[in-house]
């Protein structure tokens, strides 16, 4: 645990401090938690990837309905399998931190809610979003009729240019009307 191999070098630490919204203590804590997720033999190398299943065992993400989408959005892996390096993990924590700007948070929230990765929130995305929000069990799901009506109402309110989808600017416009978003969109280790 205290070997030099698992410590962060100072220049990397200061670079991470400059490029993210995290403080030094938060970065060190993130490093500790990340190395715990790595298998024992991988702990010495710096750019190891943690597979998706291991990331999802973290208590902060375990019961979050958006956990898979979060990992996919922040993952930089070629295979698009949702695995995270330490830098991806820091990106995640930075976007969800206290001092991140509203713009960063709304940008990543948009990407998380864009389930089919096409750059806009269309009906399918909104339907999946509402299903995630209302839970997995059958008795909390909305009926198809209610869902259709709800999504039409949402589109009517938020789709300004009336093209049937919510793009990033429209999403950010909606988010700016809610003062609670910044405090809800937070994950603290």
């Amino acid at each position: 645990m205290g070997t030099t191999a698992s410590q962060l070098p100072k220049d990397l630490l200061s670079e991470y401090q400059e490029l993210t919204f995290l403080t030094k203590q938060e970065i060190l804590l993130a490093h500790n938690r990340f190395t715990e997720l790595l298998a024992k033999e991988d702990r010495s190398s710096t750019s190891q990837r943690v597979p998706l299943e291991k990331v999802l065992t973290m208590p902060e993400l375990k019961s979050n309905p958006f956990r898979k989408r979060i990992c996919h959005v922040f993952s930089t892996s070629e295979a698009k399998d949702g695995s995270l390096t330490f830098e991806d993990f820091l990106d995640l924590l930075s976007a969800f931190s206290d001092s991140a700007t509203l713009e960063i948070k709304s940008h990543y929230a948009f990407r998380i809610f864009d389930f089919d990765d096409d750059g806009t929130l269309d009906r399918g995305d909104l339907e999946k979003l509402v299903n995630c929000l209302t839970g997995e069990t059958d008795d909390t799901r909305l009926t198809p009729e209610e869902m259709r009506q709800l999504i039409s109402n949402i589109l009517e309110e938020s789709d300004i240019d009336k093209d049937g989808t919510v793009n990033l600017s429209e999403f950010q416009h909606v988010i700016s009307r809610s003062p609670d978003f910044v405090s809800s969109f937070k994950i603290v280790l």
Binding site: L19, T20, E87, L150, N167, S169, P179
Partner: protein, 775 residues
């Protein structure tokens, strides 16, 4: 007949006919390069999905729009005119109308996918080009600000604020441009821009390396900063030092683990109560530090000579605040109106320091209140600014759906509960078109009766209000919450108002008749008792009341759920306690310390009770708006009332003649006034202060003019806000029009593509007709 023919060969049937400016040929020619150009990009799975979805969307939008058009009467646009199917015979128009098409062609699909509004949120190069132009804007803005004097290249007013148009280039050039822009920004700006870019860490790191490496090669003259920007740099570094100091204080992480557990299980609403408690702790700590350094320590170091400390310490003093404590540094009466002379150092190097306790008392209280006022107003305005929206657009449903999920909640049962709550909310939304004789211990103990009664009232009446609210029917839950807060608030304001009248209006004026030697100490003791009783009742309520209520509701009422943590009521209790503390600091300088201890104990007690007795609320709590409300309540009735009472006391009431630092004066305020007046003689270098005081503070004309200017500025700002509202509605209309244009263009593109592909079967048809004709 004619129409039908043109209908077949021209699927987009134009009612307007040949007079329309949107000539078919023109449109066709302008789109063909686009169709040729759209390169061989493989359509991924996501894009294939979009094809079907888009088609379905377009169809539904079409139906909505056609209904809209029938209502509005259409706009001056041939596409709209074309859609109006006022030809009753052609019921077939709907199916063959191209805007209701089932399948977009591949080319159209590619164009759709690569539109800037769709790639902005997703593709790396689009983000880079967006930030490129943004950094360009920032660079220009900074240049025109700092280099006004060396205006050789870019400080021309015509460029200020204009976006320099970058020619459409490829990804690499955009990146280089971004790097160049980043270099020319200051280090702080560069860091802020890099942090705010939503790209991966590897990209940011690369950009940073490029920007820093190239920057170090610049000649020295570029790095010279003008005097103006050096001043800005100094202020910026001072501000950053102050913010790092604040962040250090935050990183002390008082109660960090506890707060995380509370928010993990109960969410942001309940967390706001504990954060509010932390804020109050900060206020009291500040007050304690100020009064401690400037009042308590100097007076404690120089105890007055002739104080008769006859009473001995018995346990009751902790509750009544009297007895032994009366003649200690805790209360007003102990302080002398002397100028203490301390000499330290020995021999030839003795130095005397004088400390005027009277002046110190007056100015300390004044400055402490002033600083608290500034901090409160600042945090209130910041909090208000965050939750104020200029344009109140109709409906909150989209906001609710996008912002409702609280990512801090991690416990599984709480997550499930949150989901249930959201489901209930969404379903509900759908169903709707909410006062002696001899000072003895016995007499002191009897003094406890009033605080006990007031605390009991404070405890029982809110429960009574809850029962009444349960019987009443409200339109919406938020109305219920606001009514409950209002009732509690009125109760507390009335209680405090009556108490203030009782103390300041009767006891202070008539102190002799109650044979009180020192009415200020007495009022201080009363406040101490009230604060303490309030705390004891809160403890009893938390330990016993909530626990009993939980047992009652589970056994007798047979409810499955535990009671809910009543955030509003608890926050009002905190505000009430803080008002008492502010009222009492004039009479008991150590009251903030008592309040600090009380808040610390309260935190742990409430947290323990929360974990054991309560469960997550059904209705979600709008945390930030409520925080604004609480800070506003803290500022307006609470702090303002306390400040007004203290000012009234200092200005009008006659201090006791036998005790305290203001003995002998007509009012406390006069001490400051006398000092200013005799400043002229004693210290001529500070004579300007006297002049300032006479001509500004005591001059009504100056105050009137300041108030007038303030009102004018406020009016100006309200006009600006009105103008902005109008502009916002105009812009929304414009965006909608642009959306229509976009749809129109996509449809024409589609037709153009189709015509290219269907021309061969049609030619075959024509040729076959010709053949049949000639035969």
């Amino acid at each position: 007949m004619d129409r039908r023919v043109s209908f077949d060969s021209n699927p987009h049937h134009m009612e307007a006919g040949p007079e329309s400016p949107w000539d078919e040929g023109v449109a066709h020619r302008s789109f063909s390069p686009l169709i040729e150009d759209s390169g061989p990009r493989p359509i991924g799975h996501g894009e294939a999905l979009e094809m079907a979805d888009l088609a379905v969307e377009e169809e539904e939008e079409e139906e909505e729009e056609e209904q809209e058009e029938e209502e509005e009467g259409g706009r001056d646009n041939p596409a709209f005119l074309a859609r109006q199917s006022d030809d009753p015979g052609s019921s077939a128009t709907r199916e063959t109308n191209p805007l209701v098409r089932q399948r977009w062609s591949a080319a159209t699909q590619r164009v759709l996918c690569s539109m800037p509004s769709r790639t902005m949120g997703r593709a790396q190069d689009a983000i880079i080009s967006r930030y490129c132009s943004r950094s360009e804007q920032l660079r220009l803005r900074r240049q025109t600000q700092t280099s006004i004097r060396d205006s050789d290249r870019s400080a021309r007013p015509s460029i200020r604020g204009y976006r320099m148009e970058v020619e459409p280039e490829e990804e690499e050039n955009k990146k280089e441009q971004l790097v160049t822009n980043l270099q020319s920004l200051s280090a702080a700006d560069r860091m802020r821009m890099l942090r705010a870019m939503p790209v991966s860490m590897a990209e940011k790191s690369e950009l940073r390396k490029l920007a820093c490496n190239l920057k170090s090669g610049l000649p020295l003259s570029h790095r010279e900063v003008s005097c103006h920007s050096r001043l800005k740099y100094c202020t910026a570094s001072a501000l950053s030092a102050w913010s790092s100091c604040l962040s250090f204080l935050q990183s002390l992480q008082l109660w960090q683990v506890a707060l995380k557990r509370v928010s993990g299980r109960f969410g942001t609403g309940v967390l706001s109560y504990f954060l509010f408690l932390k804020t109050l702790l900060f206020f009291n700590a500040l007050l304690f530090v100020i009064t401690g350094f400037f009042l308590v320590i100097p007076q404690a170091a120089n105890p007055p000579r002739h104080e008769a400390g006859n009473a001995s310490f018995t346990g009751l003093e902790l509750f009544t605040g009297g007895g032994y404590f009366t003649h200690t540094v805790m209360f007003y009466g102990y302080y002398t109106n002397s100028i203490t002379n301390t000499s330290y150092g020995g021999g030839a190097a003795t130095r005397h320091s004088t400390y005027n306790i009277t002046l110190a008392y007056f100015f300390t209280i004044g400055i402490a209140f002033f600083i608290t006022c500034i901090i409160l107003v600042y945090s209130m305005s910041k909090s208000f600014g965050r939750s104020f929206r200029i344009y109140k657009s109709q409906g909150n449903l989209a906001v609710k759906v996008f912002c409702v999920w609280d990512f801090k909640v991690i416990k599984v049962s709480s997550v499930k509960l949150q989901s249930e709550n959201i489901c209930t909310q969404l379903k509900d939304n759908q169903q709707k078109a909410s006062s002696r004789t001899v000072s003895s211990l016995q007499w002191e103990a009897r003094m406890l009766a009033l605080p006990v009664m007031v605390s009991a009232i404070n405890l029982l009446l809110p429960s009574f209000f809850n029962i009444v609210a349960w019987m009443e029917e409200y339109d919406s839950p938020s109305v219920r919450i606001h009514v409950a807060i209002f009732r509690n608030l009125m109760l507390k304001v009335n209680v405090l108002g009556v108490l203030c009248y009782h103390w300041l209006g009767r006891i202070a004026v008539d102190g002799q008749s109650l044979s009180l030697e020192c009415w200020e100490s007495f009022v201080g003791q009363e406040l101490y008792r009230f604060l303490l009783m309030d705390f004891i009742f809160m403890v009893l309520d938390t330990l016993i009341g909530e626990f009993l209520w939980k047992l009652f509701s589970q056994r007798v009422l047979r409810r499955k759920r535990k009671p809910v943590f009543d955030i509003a009521r608890n926050v009002l209790e905190l505000i009430y306690g803080q008002t008492l503390a502010w009222l009492g600091v004039l009479f008991m300088p150590l009251l903030p310390a008592v309040q600090i201890i009380k808040l610390l104990l309260l935190f742990y007690m409430k947290k323990a009770s929360l974990m054991v007795n309560c469960q997550v609320a059904r209705k979600p709590w709008r945390a930030s708006q409520m925080s604004t409300l609480f800070i506003t309540l803290l500022c307006f009735p609470s702090f303002l009332g306390a400040a007004v009472s203290v000012t009234y006391t200092m200005w009008t009431l006659k201090p006791s003649s036998k005790c305290g630092p203001f003995r002998g004066l007509q009012s406390m305020f006069l001490s400051g006034k006398h000092w200013i007046e005799q400043l002229q003689e004693s210290n001529p270098s500070l004579g300007w202060l006297t002049w300032v005081h006479i001509s500004l503070v005591e001059n009504p004309i100056f105050l009137f003019s300041v108030a007038g200017i303030f009102l004018i500025v406020t009016y100006f700002y309200t006009q600006v806000v009105d103008g902005q509202r109008k502009i916002i509605s105009l812009l929304q209309e414009q965006i909608e029009n642009e959306g229509q244009d976009k749809k129109f263009l996509i449809c024409r593109l589609q037709e153009a593509h189709e015509r290219k592909h269907t021309v061969s079967p049609r030619r075959r048809q024509l040729r076959s007709r010709e053949d049949s004709g000639t035969d």
